[in-house]
Amino acid sequence: MTAAVFFGCAFIAFGPALALYIFTIATEPLRVIFLIIGAFFWLVSLLFSSLFWFVARTITANKDGPIQKYLLILGVLVSVLIQELFRFVYYKLLKKASEGLKSINPDETTPSMRLLAYVSGLGFGIMSGVFAFVNTLSDSLGPGTVGIHGDSPQFFLNSAFMTLVIILLHVFWGIIFFDGCEKKKWSALLIVLLTHLLVSALGKSQI
C-alpha cells in the first residue's frame, strides 16, 4: 500500500496524542516520567491479561471453533478489568508519590492530581494505541491489496480512527477515574469500567 496510507493513518491515529504530548507533556520532565510509568503500568496489565488468555487457551487445548471466539471475548473482558485495576493501582502509587514529593519540596508546585490523571490517562492511551496499531501500520508500508478476500477495503482507515478513539478515551477515563477516586465517588469508577467494557465489546460484532 502507499506511503499516503501509511502517513495518513499514522497521523490520524497518533496525531492528537502527539500534539498533546508536545504541547503539554514534553516541556516538563516530571510529566514525561509519569507518562512513561503510566505506559509501563498498561504494559504490565496487558501482560497479565495475555497470560490469562494464554492459560485459558492452553487449558482448552487449542481446539478450533466457537470456543476460541468465546475465549477471545472472555480475554477481552478480563483484560479490561485488569486494565482498570492497574489504573487504580497507579492512582494509589501517584497519591503516595505526590505526598512524598510535597513533603520533600514544600515550596515547589507538585503536579496536581488532575494533571496526573491526565498524564496517566495519556500514558495508558498512547501505549494502548501503539500496541494496537503499530503492526498494522508497518504492514501498510508493504505490498498488498486490502480487502482482497472480501473484507472491507477501509480496514486501515477504520483501525486508525478506532485507535484515535481509544487513545482519547483512555485520557478521559483516566481523568474521570482519578476524580472518582479522589472524591470517593465509586459510581464514577463503575461508569469508567462499564464504558470501557462497552467500547471493547463493540468490536465483538467483527468476530
Binding site: 516538563e28 520532565p29 516530571l30 514525561v32 516520567i33 512513561i36 510509568i37 505506559a39 509501563f40 504494559l43 496487558l46 501482560l47 491479561s49 495475555s50 497470560l51 488468555w53 494464554f54 477471545l72 480475554g75 477481552v76 483484560s79 479490561v80 486494565q83 514529593l101 513533603s103 520533600i104 519540596n105 515547589e108 501505549m127 494502548s128 501503539v130 500496541f131 494496537a132 503499530v134 503492526n135 498494522t136 508497518s138 480496514f155 477504520n158 483501525s159 478506532m162 485507535t163 481509544i166 467500547v199 471493547s200 468490536g203 465483538k204 467483527q206 468476530i207
Partner: protein, 505 residues
Amino acid sequence: MLTFMASDSEEEVCDERTSLMSAESPPPRCCQEARQGLEDGENAAQWMPWPPGTRASGPQPAGWSFRLESTTQTAHVHFHDTRARRRRAHRGRSLWPSPCGFPQRSQDSEEDFEDDADHYVCGGVPGQPSGLEEELTLKYGAKHVIMLFVPVTLCMIVVVATIKSVRFYTEKNGQLIYTPFTEDTPSVGQRLLNSVLNTLIMISVIVAMTIFLVVLYKYRCYKFIHGWLIMSSLMLLFLFTYIYLGEVLKTYNVAMDYPTLFLTVWNFGAVGMVCIHWKGPLVLQQAYLIMISALMALVFIKYLPEWSAWVILGAISVYDLVAVLCPKGPLRMLVETAQERNEPIFPALIYSSAMVWTVGMAKLDPSSQGALQLPYDPEMEEDSYDSFGEPSYPEVFEPPLPGYPGDELEEEEERGVKLGLGDFIFYSVLVGKAAATGSGDWNTTLACFVAILIGLCLTLLLLAVFKKALPALPISITFGLIFYFSTDNLVRPFMDTLASHQLYI
C-alpha cells in the same frame, strides 16, 4: 555504575583516561575537615605524573561540602559542588580555556570556600544517623532522568532503524572468536550448553580486561591506557563507520565513488577523534558517543548468536552487580583507587550532558542552556572494541544537588549527568535483538524500550536514595529480558488475534 558526582570536566586533565567515573559519597565530616581534605588533595593532585600538556594549574579535587539546615518536619541536606562555587566566584577567569581545555583554577579561591564554610554545619548523609535533619532535594532529579532518557532513546532509535532496514546486521556471517561455540546444533540441550559456554568465555574475557585495566591504573600506566583507548576509538570511528556506510549505501542502492567516500569517512572520523579526545562542542561530542555506542551495539547484534546474546545480557548484568557492589570487585577497587588519589577515574565510555543552571531558579533557564554549556569535555572517551572490560562499567553519575537558596542570581552551577557507554551499548543490544528476532513485531521492541526506560528511572531513584556507586545494568536488563520473552510469547499472539478481529482493549 551510578553515583553522585559533580560535573568535573573542568578539573579533569584532558588527557586523563578513565573508564569509570564514580565517587562514593564521602563520609560526613566537619567543614573544617573538608577544607583540610581539599587542600591536601589539591596539593597531591599537583604532583601527579600526568601526561604532558595537562594541568596548567592545580585543579581542585572532587570536594563535597554539606549544608544542612534543620526544618520542622524533615531533614534537609543540600549538596554543594564547591568547585562550582569557586568557579562562580571567578567567572571572568575561570571559563578561559587552559591549554588542556579546562578552565583555569584560581589559587585564591579559598576565600570563596571560607565564606561557604561559615554556612556549613557538620552533618551526615541519609542512612547515616547524624542527629541533624536532612532533606534530599530532588529538585533536579527529574531533569536528570530526562537527560538520560533522550540519548538512550536516540541510540536505540538508530540501532532499531538500522536493524529494520539494513539487512547486513541481521545476516549471520560467522561469529566472534569470543563466542567460539556454534549454535547450529541438532538438539536444544546442546544449543543451550553451547550458549552457556560462549557466555562463560565472553564474561571471562571481560573480567580479564577489567582486571587488566585496574592493574594498569593502579600502577599508573596512563600512557598505555591512553594509547589503548585511542586505538579503539580509531577503529570504531573509521573502520566500523566505513562498513556501516557501505552497507547503508548498498541497502538504498546509492552509488558513491571512492574519493567521496574517503573524504566523508575521513572527515567524520577526524572530527570524531578531536571531539572525543580533545575539545569540541558538547552536542557534537554527545552525538559521536551515541553513534559509537550504536555501532558497537550493531556489531554485537550481528556477531553474537541468538541464545548466546540473551545469556550474555543476563550474565553481564549479574557481573555488573557483583563488580560494583562487592568489596573486592574490580570496579569498586578502581573507584577506591581513584578516590585515594583524589583524581577522577578514567572517563572512557562516559557520556556527559553538562548543563548550566542558574541557582535560585526552580527551572532550568533555557536561554542559559545553549550559551553556557561547557564546550570542553575532552575526557570523554568511547567504548573500545578490544577492551571488553570497559562495557562492564556502566554507570550514571549525578552531581551533587545545588539547592542553595539565597545565592545571587548571577552565580551559576554546573550540573551534568554521566552515563557509561557500556550501558548504552547493552541497552541497544537488547532492543536491537528484540527488533531483529521478534518476528517482525514492533510490540516486542516497544515493550523492551519502555521496560529499559523504567529500569533506568528506578536505578536513578535508587541512586538518589543510596548515594553510592550503583550498577546501571541489572534492573533495566532484567526488565528488558522479562518483557522481551513475555511479550514475544504471550502478548504477541493475543494482540495479533485482537488486531485481526479489530478488537480494541
